[in-house]
Amino acid sequence: MMFGTVLIANRGEIALRVARTCRELGIRTVAVHSAADAPPDWADQTIRIGPAPARRSYLNAAALIEAALQSGADAVHPGYGFLSEDAEFARICEEYGLTFIGPSADVIEAMGDKAAARATMSAAGVPVLPGSLHAVEEEEGRRLADEVGYPVVIKAVAGGGGRGMAIVHSGAGFSDSYRRVRAEAQLLFGDDRVCLERYLRAAHHVEIQVICDAHGNAVHLGERDCSTQRRRQKLLEESPSPAIAPELAERMAQAALAGARAIGYRGLGTFEFLVDDDTGDYFFIETNCRIQVEHPVTELVTGLDLVSEQLAVASGLPLPFRQEDVVRRGAALECRINAEDPERNFAPAPGLIEEFTPPGGPFVRVDTHVRAGTRIPPDYDPMIAKIVTWGADRDQAIDRMDRALSELRVSGPGLRTNTAFLREVLATPVFRKGAHTTGFIDHLTKGET
Protein backbone atom coordinates (compact mmCIF):
# COMPACT_ATOMS: atom_id res chain seq x y z
CA MET A 1 0.00 0.00 0.00
CA MET A 2 1.25 3.50 -0.82
CA PHE A 3 2.61 5.58 2.06
CA GLY A 4 0.41 8.00 4.00
CA THR A 5 3.18 10.31 5.28
CA VAL A 6 6.76 10.61 4.03
CA LEU A 7 9.48 12.41 5.97
CA ILE A 8 12.00 13.95 3.59
CA ALA A 9 15.42 13.70 5.23
CA ASN A 10 17.12 16.29 3.03
CA ARG A 11 17.08 19.95 2.04
CA GLY A 12 17.22 22.18 -1.01
CA GLU A 13 15.94 21.37 -4.45
CA ILE A 14 15.75 17.58 -4.01
CA ALA A 15 13.58 17.87 -0.88
CA LEU A 16 11.13 20.03 -2.83
CA ARG A 17 11.37 17.69 -5.85
CA VAL A 18 10.33 14.71 -3.71
CA ALA A 19 7.58 16.71 -2.00
CA ARG A 20 6.06 17.72 -5.34
CA THR A 21 5.52 14.12 -6.40
CA CYS A 22 4.22 13.25 -2.93
CA ARG A 23 1.65 16.03 -3.24
CA GLU A 24 0.56 14.75 -6.65
CA LEU A 25 0.10 11.29 -5.14
CA GLY A 26 -1.81 12.59 -2.11
CA ILE A 27 0.99 11.70 0.31
CA ARG A 28 1.45 13.98 3.33
CA THR A 29 4.99 15.41 3.58
CA VAL A 30 7.16 16.26 6.57
CA ALA A 31 10.13 18.52 5.85
CA VAL A 32 13.05 18.79 8.24
CA HIS A 33 15.45 21.71 8.37
CA SER A 34 18.44 22.97 10.29
CA ALA A 35 18.72 26.33 12.01
CA ALA A 36 20.62 27.58 8.91
CA ASP A 37 17.65 26.92 6.61
CA ALA A 38 14.27 28.61 6.81
CA PRO A 39 11.32 26.25 7.38
CA PRO A 40 10.16 25.24 3.89
CA ASP A 41 6.66 26.44 2.94
CA TRP A 42 5.92 23.56 0.58
CA ALA A 43 5.52 20.79 3.16
CA ASP A 44 2.49 19.77 5.21
CA GLN A 45 4.63 19.89 8.35
CA THR A 46 8.12 21.17 9.12
CA ILE A 47 10.43 20.24 11.99
CA ARG A 48 13.66 22.00 12.91
CA ILE A 49 15.99 19.15 13.80
CA GLY A 50 19.26 20.80 14.78
CA PRO A 51 21.81 23.57 14.33
CA ALA A 52 23.56 24.49 11.07
CA PRO A 53 26.34 21.86 11.00
CA ALA A 54 25.08 18.91 8.95
CA ARG A 55 26.49 16.44 11.47
CA ARG A 56 24.01 17.72 14.04
CA SER A 57 21.05 18.16 11.68
CA TYR A 58 20.79 16.52 8.24
CA LEU A 59 23.26 13.78 9.25
CA ASN A 60 21.80 13.34 12.72
CA ALA A 61 20.03 9.95 12.50
CA ALA A 62 18.53 10.19 16.01
CA ALA A 63 16.95 13.59 15.33
CA LEU A 64 15.56 12.40 11.97
CA ILE A 65 14.04 9.23 13.44
CA GLU A 66 12.55 11.20 16.35
CA ALA A 67 11.05 13.67 13.85
CA ALA A 68 9.67 10.81 11.73
CA LEU A 69 8.08 9.09 14.74
CA GLN A 70 6.53 12.22 16.23
CA SER A 71 5.10 13.31 12.87
CA GLY A 72 3.55 9.92 12.16
CA ALA A 73 5.62 9.24 9.02
CA ASP A 74 5.61 5.71 7.67
CA ALA A 75 8.55 6.21 5.30
CA VAL A 76 11.73 8.26 5.01
CA HIS A 77 12.99 9.60 1.67
CA PRO A 78 16.70 10.35 2.00
CA GLY A 79 17.16 12.26 -1.30
CA TYR A 80 20.81 12.28 -2.41
CA GLY A 81 23.93 13.02 -0.34
CA PHE A 82 23.62 13.23 3.46
CA LEU A 83 22.32 9.84 4.75
CA SER A 84 21.07 8.53 1.40
CA GLU A 85 23.74 5.84 1.16
CA ASP A 86 24.23 5.21 4.87
CA ALA A 87 23.50 1.52 5.51
CA GLU A 88 23.29 2.10 9.27
CA PHE A 89 20.62 4.77 8.82
CA ALA A 90 18.62 2.47 6.53
CA ARG A 91 18.86 -0.23 9.17
CA ILE A 92 17.76 2.11 12.00
CA CYS A 93 14.74 3.23 9.93
CA GLU A 94 13.62 -0.38 9.51
CA GLU A 95 14.14 -1.06 13.23
CA TYR A 96 11.73 1.76 14.05
CA GLY A 97 9.14 0.52 11.56
CA LEU A 98 9.89 3.21 8.97
CA THR A 99 10.38 2.27 5.32
CA PHE A 100 13.70 3.59 4.06
CA ILE A 101 13.08 4.62 0.45
CA GLY A 102 16.07 2.98 -1.16
CA PRO A 103 17.76 -0.38 -1.44
CA SER A 104 18.18 -2.62 1.60
CA ALA A 105 20.87 -1.79 4.15
CA ASP A 106 22.78 -4.92 3.09
CA VAL A 107 22.88 -3.82 -0.56
CA ILE A 108 23.95 -0.27 0.37
CA GLU A 109 26.71 -1.72 2.52
CA ALA A 110 27.85 -4.13 -0.19
CA MET A 111 27.99 -1.35 -2.81
CA GLY A 112 29.51 1.23 -0.46
CA ASP A 113 32.90 -0.48 -0.35
CA LYS A 114 34.17 0.08 -3.88
CA ALA A 115 36.62 -2.82 -3.84
CA ALA A 116 33.92 -5.22 -2.66
CA ALA A 117 31.43 -3.76 -5.15
CA ARG A 118 33.81 -4.34 -8.06
CA ALA A 119 34.45 -7.92 -6.97
CA THR A 120 30.70 -8.54 -6.81
CA MET A 121 30.11 -7.00 -10.24
CA SER A 122 33.04 -8.85 -11.76
CA ALA A 123 31.60 -12.14 -10.46
CA ALA A 124 28.26 -11.20 -12.06
CA GLY A 125 29.99 -10.85 -15.44
CA VAL A 126 30.08 -7.03 -15.49
CA PRO A 127 33.40 -5.73 -16.89
CA VAL A 128 35.51 -3.85 -14.34
CA LEU A 129 38.73 -1.92 -14.87
CA PRO A 130 41.87 -4.09 -14.75
CA GLY A 131 43.44 -3.64 -11.33
CA SER A 132 42.98 -4.70 -7.75
CA LEU A 133 39.57 -5.73 -6.51
CA HIS A 134 40.73 -5.26 -2.94
CA ALA A 135 43.07 -3.10 -0.88
CA VAL A 136 46.73 -3.51 -1.85
CA GLU A 137 49.98 -3.14 0.08
CA GLU A 138 52.81 -1.24 -1.59
CA GLU A 139 54.77 -4.17 -3.04
CA GLU A 140 51.66 -5.99 -4.25
CA GLY A 141 50.48 -2.70 -5.78
CA ARG A 142 53.74 -2.21 -7.60
CA ARG A 143 53.60 -5.72 -9.10
CA LEU A 144 49.97 -5.18 -10.08
CA ALA A 145 50.77 -1.82 -11.71
CA ASP A 146 53.42 -3.52 -13.86
CA GLU A 147 50.87 -6.17 -14.82
CA VAL A 148 48.03 -3.70 -15.61
CA GLY A 149 50.38 -1.28 -17.35
CA TYR A 150 51.02 2.43 -16.62
CA PRO A 151 49.46 4.90 -16.22
CA VAL A 152 47.54 3.62 -13.20
CA VAL A 153 45.37 5.41 -10.67
CA ILE A 154 45.77 4.77 -6.93
CA LYS A 155 42.68 5.63 -4.93
CA ALA A 156 41.15 5.35 -1.48
CA VAL A 157 38.86 2.35 -1.02
CA ALA A 158 36.56 4.62 0.99
CA GLY A 159 37.04 7.59 -1.36
CA GLY A 160 34.80 9.54 -3.68
CA GLY A 161 34.30 12.89 -5.36
CA GLY A 162 37.81 12.86 -6.79
CA ARG A 163 39.50 13.15 -3.40
CA GLY A 164 42.16 10.77 -2.11
CA MET A 165 43.61 9.64 -5.42
CA ALA A 166 46.68 9.99 -7.65
CA ILE A 167 47.60 9.12 -11.23
CA VAL A 168 50.99 7.42 -11.59
CA HIS A 169 52.69 7.53 -14.98
CA SER A 170 55.68 5.28 -14.35
CA GLY A 171 57.22 2.91 -11.83
CA ALA A 172 59.61 5.65 -10.70
CA GLY A 173 56.81 7.70 -9.11
CA PHE A 174 54.94 4.76 -7.61
CA SER A 175 56.21 4.75 -4.02
CA ASP A 176 55.77 8.48 -3.43
CA SER A 177 52.24 8.51 -4.83
CA TYR A 178 51.24 5.32 -3.03
CA ARG A 179 52.29 6.69 0.35
CA ARG A 180 50.73 10.09 -0.28
CA VAL A 181 47.33 8.62 -1.20
CA ARG A 182 47.36 6.38 1.88
CA ALA A 183 48.08 9.34 4.14
CA GLU A 184 45.39 11.40 2.42
CA ALA A 185 42.89 8.56 2.67
CA GLN A 186 43.51 8.24 6.40
CA LEU A 187 43.05 11.97 6.84
CA LEU A 188 39.96 12.35 4.65
CA PHE A 189 38.09 9.12 5.34
CA GLY A 190 39.69 7.63 8.47
CA ASP A 191 40.48 4.55 6.36
CA ASP A 192 43.88 4.27 4.70
CA ARG A 193 43.16 1.28 2.44
CA VAL A 194 43.86 1.99 -1.23
CA CYS A 195 43.23 0.09 -4.43
CA LEU A 196 44.70 0.50 -7.88
CA GLU A 197 43.41 0.30 -11.41
CA ARG A 198 44.26 1.10 -14.99
CA TYR A 199 44.04 4.83 -15.70
CA LEU A 200 42.20 5.65 -18.90
CA ARG A 201 43.80 8.43 -20.92
CA ALA A 202 40.47 9.67 -22.15
CA ALA A 203 37.08 8.33 -21.11
CA HIS A 204 33.39 9.04 -21.23
CA HIS A 205 31.38 8.83 -18.02
CA VAL A 206 28.20 6.97 -18.93
CA GLU A 207 25.72 5.70 -16.35
CA ILE A 208 22.69 3.44 -16.59
CA GLN A 209 19.50 4.19 -14.66
CA VAL A 210 17.77 1.07 -13.37
CA ILE A 211 14.67 0.47 -11.31
CA CYS A 212 13.86 -2.83 -9.63
CA ASP A 213 10.80 -3.87 -7.64
CA ALA A 214 10.40 -6.41 -4.85
CA HIS A 215 8.88 -8.95 -7.26
CA GLY A 216 11.95 -9.71 -9.36
CA ASN A 217 11.31 -7.13 -12.11
CA ALA A 218 14.30 -5.07 -13.21
CA VAL A 219 14.08 -2.44 -15.95
CA HIS A 220 16.63 0.03 -17.30
CA LEU A 221 15.70 3.58 -18.31
CA GLY A 222 18.62 4.21 -20.61
CA GLU A 223 21.87 6.02 -20.13
CA ARG A 224 23.08 9.45 -19.06
CA ASP A 225 26.38 10.93 -20.16
CA CYS A 226 28.10 12.87 -17.37
CA SER A 227 31.45 13.47 -19.09
CA THR A 228 31.15 17.22 -18.52
CA GLN A 229 32.87 17.28 -15.13
CA ARG A 230 35.11 19.72 -13.34
CA ARG A 231 37.56 17.90 -11.12
CA ARG A 232 35.24 14.88 -11.16
CA GLN A 233 32.25 16.95 -10.04
CA LYS A 234 29.43 16.67 -12.56
CA LEU A 235 28.46 19.96 -14.15
CA LEU A 236 26.17 18.99 -17.00
CA GLU A 237 24.43 15.71 -17.80
CA GLU A 238 22.62 14.53 -20.88
CA SER A 239 20.73 11.65 -22.41
CA PRO A 240 21.27 9.90 -24.75
CA SER A 241 25.07 9.83 -24.69
CA PRO A 242 26.45 11.61 -27.75
CA ALA A 243 29.66 9.55 -27.53
CA ILE A 244 28.52 5.96 -27.80
CA ALA A 245 26.43 3.98 -30.28
CA PRO A 246 22.96 2.82 -29.18
CA GLU A 247 24.12 -0.81 -29.44
CA LEU A 248 26.90 -0.18 -26.92
CA ALA A 249 24.50 1.66 -24.60
CA GLU A 250 22.17 -1.34 -24.77
CA ARG A 251 25.00 -3.78 -23.93
CA MET A 252 25.93 -1.60 -20.92
CA ALA A 253 22.28 -1.47 -19.82
CA GLN A 254 22.07 -5.27 -19.94
CA ALA A 255 25.29 -5.49 -17.89
CA ALA A 256 23.82 -3.09 -15.31
CA LEU A 257 20.65 -5.19 -15.06
CA ALA A 258 22.72 -8.36 -14.62
CA GLY A 259 24.61 -6.60 -11.82
CA ALA A 260 21.37 -5.37 -10.22
CA ARG A 261 19.85 -8.88 -10.28
CA ALA A 262 23.05 -10.42 -8.88
CA ILE A 263 22.91 -8.26 -5.74
CA GLY A 264 19.14 -8.40 -5.30
CA TYR A 265 18.82 -4.68 -5.92
CA ARG A 266 15.48 -3.08 -5.11
CA GLY A 267 14.59 0.54 -5.84
CA LEU A 268 16.05 3.20 -8.05
CA GLY A 269 19.77 2.92 -8.76
CA THR A 270 22.52 4.01 -11.10
CA PHE A 271 25.37 1.92 -12.44
CA GLU A 272 28.29 4.15 -13.41
CA PHE A 273 30.72 3.15 -16.15
CA LEU A 274 33.76 4.58 -17.86
CA VAL A 275 33.95 4.07 -21.62
CA ASP A 276 37.50 4.07 -22.98
CA ASP A 277 37.65 6.70 -25.74
CA ASP A 278 40.39 4.75 -27.53
CA THR A 279 38.87 1.26 -27.56
CA GLY A 280 35.17 1.65 -26.76
CA ASP A 281 35.58 -0.83 -23.90
CA TYR A 282 33.34 -0.13 -20.90
CA PHE A 283 34.13 -0.69 -17.24
CA PHE A 284 31.90 -0.59 -14.14
CA ILE A 285 33.04 1.96 -11.53
CA GLU A 286 30.32 2.17 -8.90
CA THR A 287 26.64 1.89 -8.05
CA ASN A 288 24.73 4.85 -6.64
CA CYS A 289 22.03 3.48 -4.34
CA ARG A 290 19.77 6.56 -4.47
CA ILE A 291 18.02 9.05 -6.69
CA GLN A 292 20.58 11.20 -8.47
CA VAL A 293 20.91 14.91 -9.02
CA GLU A 294 20.64 14.36 -12.79
CA HIS A 295 17.49 12.18 -12.73
CA PRO A 296 15.36 14.82 -14.55
CA VAL A 297 17.32 14.15 -17.75
CA THR A 298 15.94 10.58 -17.75
CA GLU A 299 12.48 11.83 -16.81
CA LEU A 300 12.36 14.13 -19.83
CA VAL A 301 13.36 11.47 -22.36
CA THR A 302 11.24 8.65 -20.86
CA GLY A 303 8.21 10.64 -19.66
CA LEU A 304 8.42 8.77 -16.33
CA ASP A 305 8.37 10.36 -12.86
CA LEU A 306 11.29 8.56 -11.20
CA VAL A 307 10.35 9.67 -7.68
CA SER A 308 6.84 8.30 -8.18
CA GLU A 309 8.22 4.96 -9.37
CA GLN A 310 10.72 4.96 -6.51
CA LEU A 311 7.94 5.50 -3.94
CA ALA A 312 5.83 2.78 -5.56
CA VAL A 313 8.50 0.07 -5.50
CA ALA A 314 9.54 1.07 -1.95
CA SER A 315 5.95 0.56 -0.83
CA GLY A 316 6.03 -2.94 -2.31
CA LEU A 317 4.04 -2.35 -5.49
CA PRO A 318 5.18 -4.10 -8.67
CA LEU A 319 6.61 -2.00 -11.51
CA PRO A 320 3.67 -0.89 -13.66
CA PHE A 321 5.66 -1.24 -16.92
CA ARG A 322 7.98 -3.71 -18.61
CA GLN A 323 11.20 -3.05 -20.49
CA GLU A 324 9.43 -2.90 -23.86
CA ASP A 325 7.08 -0.22 -22.51
CA VAL A 326 9.95 2.18 -21.89
CA VAL A 327 10.18 4.47 -24.91
CA ARG A 328 12.84 7.16 -25.06
CA ARG A 329 12.29 10.23 -27.21
CA GLY A 330 14.57 13.10 -28.18
CA ALA A 331 17.43 14.43 -26.07
CA ALA A 332 17.65 16.17 -22.70
CA LEU A 333 20.34 18.21 -20.95
CA GLU A 334 20.74 19.36 -17.37
CA CYS A 335 22.95 22.20 -16.14
CA ARG A 336 23.77 22.57 -12.45
CA ILE A 337 23.70 26.20 -11.34
CA ASN A 338 26.09 26.57 -8.41
CA ALA A 339 26.71 29.53 -6.12
CA GLU A 340 30.40 29.61 -6.96
CA ASP A 341 32.83 31.98 -8.60
CA PRO A 342 34.52 30.71 -11.80
CA GLU A 343 36.86 33.74 -11.58
CA ARG A 344 38.15 32.51 -8.23
CA ASN A 345 38.72 28.87 -9.10
CA PHE A 346 35.05 28.00 -8.50
CA ALA A 347 35.24 28.87 -4.81
CA PRO A 348 31.79 28.75 -3.16
CA ALA A 349 30.19 32.22 -3.28
CA PRO A 350 27.03 31.91 -1.16
CA GLY A 351 24.92 34.76 0.16
CA LEU A 352 21.53 36.41 -0.03
CA ILE A 353 19.66 36.07 -3.33
CA GLU A 354 18.08 39.45 -4.04
CA GLU A 355 16.94 38.76 -7.57
CA PHE A 356 15.99 35.38 -8.96
CA THR A 357 14.30 35.08 -12.33
CA PRO A 358 14.21 31.52 -13.63
CA PRO A 359 14.02 30.79 -17.37
CA GLY A 360 10.77 29.55 -18.86
CA GLY A 361 9.20 28.82 -22.19
CA PRO A 362 8.90 25.63 -24.18
CA PHE A 363 10.63 22.46 -22.99
CA VAL A 364 12.46 24.10 -20.08
CA ARG A 365 12.27 22.66 -16.57
CA VAL A 366 13.72 24.39 -13.51
CA ASP A 367 14.19 22.47 -10.25
CA THR A 368 15.04 24.87 -7.47
CA HIS A 369 14.16 25.72 -3.89
CA VAL A 370 15.33 29.33 -4.11
CA ARG A 371 13.56 32.60 -4.85
CA ALA A 372 14.31 36.26 -4.21
CA GLY A 373 15.01 36.57 -0.48
CA THR A 374 16.50 33.09 -0.04
CA ARG A 375 19.81 33.04 1.78
CA ILE A 376 22.26 30.40 0.54
CA PRO A 377 24.05 29.20 3.66
CA PRO A 378 27.77 28.41 3.45
CA ASP A 379 27.20 25.18 5.36
CA TYR A 380 26.01 22.97 2.50
CA ASP A 381 26.38 22.12 -1.17
CA PRO A 382 26.40 25.33 -3.28
CA MET A 383 23.92 24.09 -5.92
CA ILE A 384 20.97 26.47 -6.17
CA ALA A 385 19.10 25.25 -9.24
CA LYS A 386 19.00 22.72 -12.04
CA ILE A 387 17.97 23.83 -15.50
CA VAL A 388 16.80 20.99 -17.75
CA THR A 389 15.85 21.27 -21.41
CA TRP A 390 14.40 18.82 -23.91
CA GLY A 391 14.78 18.83 -27.68
CA ALA A 392 13.83 16.58 -30.58
CA ASP A 393 17.57 16.09 -30.97
CA ARG A 394 20.73 17.08 -29.08
CA ASP A 395 21.34 20.25 -31.07
CA GLN A 396 17.89 21.55 -30.29
CA ALA A 397 18.25 20.68 -26.60
CA ILE A 398 21.60 22.55 -26.48
CA ASP A 399 20.16 25.62 -28.24
CA ARG A 400 17.27 25.64 -25.80
CA MET A 401 19.69 25.33 -22.87
CA ASP A 402 21.70 28.30 -24.09
CA ARG A 403 18.51 30.30 -24.47
CA ALA A 404 17.33 29.23 -21.00
CA LEU A 405 20.66 30.16 -19.39
CA SER A 406 20.52 33.56 -21.09
CA GLU A 407 17.16 34.18 -19.37
CA LEU A 408 18.32 33.16 -15.89
CA ARG A 409 18.93 36.10 -13.54
CA VAL A 410 20.49 35.47 -10.13
CA SER A 411 22.07 38.24 -8.13
CA GLY A 412 22.79 39.35 -4.60
CA PRO A 413 25.65 40.80 -2.55
CA GLY A 414 28.69 38.54 -2.80
CA LEU A 415 26.72 35.95 -4.75
CA ARG A 416 28.26 34.50 -7.93
CA THR A 417 27.13 31.67 -10.18
CA ASN A 418 28.64 29.49 -12.88
CA THR A 419 25.93 30.39 -15.43
CA ALA A 420 28.21 32.24 -17.85
CA PHE A 421 30.77 29.47 -17.60
CA LEU A 422 28.14 26.88 -18.52
CA ARG A 423 27.27 28.91 -21.65
CA GLU A 424 30.97 28.85 -22.57
CA VAL A 425 30.94 25.08 -22.23
CA LEU A 426 27.88 24.78 -24.49
CA ALA A 427 29.67 26.87 -27.15
CA THR A 428 32.85 24.74 -27.11
CA PRO A 429 33.20 22.90 -30.46
CA VAL A 430 34.26 19.61 -28.84
CA PHE A 431 31.16 19.69 -26.63
CA ARG A 432 28.89 20.60 -29.58
CA LYS A 433 30.28 17.61 -31.46
CA GLY A 434 29.71 15.38 -28.43
CA ALA A 435 33.34 14.25 -28.59
CA HIS A 436 34.29 15.57 -25.13
CA THR A 437 35.77 13.26 -22.49
CA THR A 438 35.90 13.59 -18.70
CA GLY A 439 39.03 15.75 -18.72
CA PHE A 440 37.71 18.39 -21.08
CA ILE A 441 36.54 21.01 -18.55
CA ASP A 442 39.83 20.86 -16.67
CA HIS A 443 41.54 21.30 -20.04
CA LEU A 444 39.22 24.23 -20.80
CA THR A 445 40.12 25.91 -17.50
CA LYS A 446 43.82 25.63 -18.38
CA GLY A 447 45.00 22.16 -17.53
CA GLU A 448 44.01 21.87 -13.91
CA THR A 449 44.35 18.10 -13.84
Partner: protein
Protein backbone atom coordinates in the same frame (compact mmCIF):
# COMPACT_ATOMS: atom_id res chain seq x y z
CA UNK B 1 39.85 29.03 35.64
CA UNK B 2 40.38 28.12 39.31
CA UNK B 3 36.79 27.38 40.12
CA UNK B 4 34.28 25.70 37.84
CA UNK B 5 31.17 27.85 37.86
CA UNK B 6 27.89 26.10 38.56
CA UNK B 7 26.48 27.44 35.35
CA UNK B 8 24.50 25.63 32.72
CA UNK B 9 25.96 27.81 29.89
CA UNK B 10 29.30 26.44 30.86
CA UNK B 11 27.91 22.91 31.08
CA UNK B 12 26.23 23.27 27.70
CA UNK B 13 29.48 24.49 26.24
CA UNK B 14 31.39 21.57 27.75
CA UNK B 15 28.78 19.16 26.43
CA UNK B 16 28.98 20.72 22.99
CA UNK B 17 32.76 20.50 23.04
CA UNK B 18 32.65 16.87 24.19
CA UNK B 19 30.18 16.05 21.42
CA UNK B 20 32.41 17.84 18.93
CA UNK B 21 35.42 15.82 20.02
CA UNK B 22 33.45 12.57 19.87
CA UNK B 23 32.40 13.31 16.29
CA UNK B 24 35.96 13.66 15.05
CA UNK B 25 38.20 10.88 13.84
CA UNK B 26 41.23 12.15 15.78
CA UNK B 27 41.53 13.69 19.22
CA UNK B 28 42.58 17.35 19.15
CA UNK B 29 45.92 18.58 20.45
CA UNK B 30 44.28 21.43 22.34
CA UNK B 31 40.78 22.31 23.38
CA UNK B 32 40.07 25.89 24.45
CA UNK B 33 36.84 26.75 26.17
CA UNK B 34 36.00 30.34 27.00
CA UNK B 35 32.96 30.89 29.08
CA UNK B 36 32.06 34.56 28.72
CA UNK B 37 31.32 34.56 24.99
CA UNK B 38 30.57 30.84 24.98
CA UNK B 39 32.99 29.48 22.44
CA UNK B 40 34.99 26.29 22.02
CA UNK B 41 38.08 25.95 19.88
CA UNK B 42 39.83 22.74 18.91
CA UNK B 43 43.20 22.51 17.20
CA UNK B 44 45.25 19.66 15.83
CA UNK B 45 48.94 19.19 15.40
CA UNK B 46 50.90 16.46 13.59
CA UNK B 47 49.33 16.77 10.18
CA UNK B 48 45.81 17.51 11.36
CA UNK B 49 45.62 21.23 10.69
CA UNK B 50 41.85 21.58 10.85
CA UNK B 51 40.50 24.18 13.24
CA UNK B 52 36.89 23.88 14.26
CA UNK B 53 35.14 26.59 16.18
CA UNK B 54 31.64 26.70 17.52
CA UNK B 55 29.75 29.60 18.98
CA UNK B 56 26.64 29.45 21.11
CA UNK B 57 24.48 32.56 20.94
CA UNK B 58 23.69 33.80 24.44
CA UNK B 59 19.93 33.30 24.91
CA UNK B 60 19.08 36.92 25.74
CA UNK B 61 16.07 38.49 24.01
CA UNK B 62 15.48 42.26 24.10
CA UNK B 63 13.36 42.27 27.24
CA UNK B 64 16.17 40.71 29.25
CA UNK B 65 14.22 37.47 29.69
CA UNK B 66 16.03 34.21 29.22
CA UNK B 67 14.44 31.63 26.98
CA UNK B 68 15.37 28.09 27.88
CA UNK B 69 15.20 26.29 24.52
CA UNK B 70 14.94 22.66 23.45
CA UNK B 71 18.44 21.27 22.90
CA UNK B 72 17.06 18.66 20.49
CA UNK B 73 13.88 17.57 18.75
CA UNK B 74 11.58 15.55 21.00
CA UNK B 75 8.62 15.71 23.38
CA UNK B 76 8.48 18.24 26.23
CA UNK B 77 7.27 17.20 29.65
CA UNK B 78 6.64 19.62 32.51
CA UNK B 79 6.48 16.88 35.16
CA UNK B 80 8.65 13.87 35.99
CA UNK B 81 5.72 11.51 35.29
CA UNK B 82 2.03 11.73 34.32
CA UNK B 83 -0.08 13.05 37.19
CA UNK B 84 2.90 14.31 39.16
CA UNK B 85 3.33 17.97 40.10
CA UNK B 86 5.11 19.99 37.40
CA UNK B 87 8.77 20.87 37.92
CA UNK B 88 7.90 24.56 37.77
CA UNK B 89 4.89 26.81 37.19
CA UNK B 90 4.61 30.45 36.18
CA UNK B 91 5.61 32.63 39.14
CA UNK B 92 8.00 30.10 40.66
CA UNK B 93 11.56 31.12 41.40
CA UNK B 94 14.35 28.92 40.07
CA UNK B 95 18.06 28.53 40.69
CA UNK B 96 20.76 27.94 38.13
CA UNK B 97 20.87 24.27 37.24
CA UNK B 98 17.44 23.53 38.71
CA UNK B 99 15.50 21.03 36.57
CA UNK B 100 12.49 22.69 34.97
CA UNK B 101 11.38 20.04 32.47
CA UNK B 102 12.26 17.07 30.30
CA UNK B 103 12.69 16.66 26.53
CA UNK B 104 12.26 13.01 25.62
CA UNK B 105 13.95 12.02 22.39
CA UNK B 106 14.39 8.45 21.15
CA UNK B 107 13.18 7.23 24.58
CA UNK B 108 15.96 9.14 26.35
CA UNK B 109 14.97 11.65 29.03
CA UNK B 110 17.00 14.83 28.65
CA UNK B 111 16.70 17.05 31.72
CA UNK B 112 16.09 20.73 30.97
CA UNK B 113 17.60 23.04 33.56
CA UNK B 114 17.36 26.75 34.31
CA UNK B 115 20.22 28.69 32.72
CA UNK B 116 19.92 31.63 35.13
CA UNK B 117 18.35 32.34 38.52
CA UNK B 118 15.07 34.15 38.39
CA UNK B 119 11.32 33.85 38.13
CA UNK B 120 9.39 31.77 35.60
CA UNK B 121 7.29 34.24 33.61
CA UNK B 122 6.01 32.02 30.81
CA UNK B 123 5.93 28.36 29.76
CA UNK B 124 5.26 28.60 26.00
CA UNK B 125 5.64 24.85 25.32
CA UNK B 126 2.68 22.67 26.19
CA UNK B 127 3.09 19.57 28.33
CA UNK B 128 3.60 16.33 26.35
CA UNK B 129 3.82 18.29 23.09
CA UNK B 130 6.37 17.68 20.33
CA UNK B 131 9.08 20.33 20.24
CA UNK B 132 11.62 21.32 17.59
CA UNK B 133 15.30 21.96 18.12
CA UNK B 134 15.78 25.43 19.68
CA UNK B 135 12.10 25.92 20.47
CA UNK B 136 11.51 28.12 23.57
CA UNK B 137 10.27 25.97 26.46
CA UNK B 138 10.40 28.14 29.58
CA UNK B 139 10.97 31.90 29.91
CA UNK B 140 12.79 33.21 32.97
CA UNK B 141 13.05 36.80 34.19
CA UNK B 142 16.52 36.84 35.71
CA UNK B 143 17.79 38.66 38.77
CA UNK B 144 14.38 38.89 40.43
CA UNK B 145 14.35 39.90 44.13
CA UNK B 146 12.44 36.77 45.06
CA UNK B 147 15.12 34.79 43.27
CA UNK B 148 17.68 36.49 45.52
CA UNK B 149 15.72 35.19 48.48
CA UNK B 150 16.01 31.69 47.15
CA UNK B 151 19.64 31.97 46.25
CA UNK B 152 20.81 33.93 49.25
CA UNK B 153 18.41 33.22 52.13
CA UNK B 154 18.69 35.80 54.86
CA UNK B 155 20.11 38.42 52.51
CA UNK B 156 17.38 40.84 53.55
Amino acid sequence: MTELPNDSDFDTLCEAATRLVSLLPHPPATLKISHGLASAELTWSDGFPAVVTTTVDPPLPDDGHIQVRAPLVGTFYRAPEPGAAPYVSVGDTVEVGQQIGIVESMKLMNPIVAEAPGRVVEIPAADAAPVEYDQPLVVIAPGDSSACDTLFPGSR
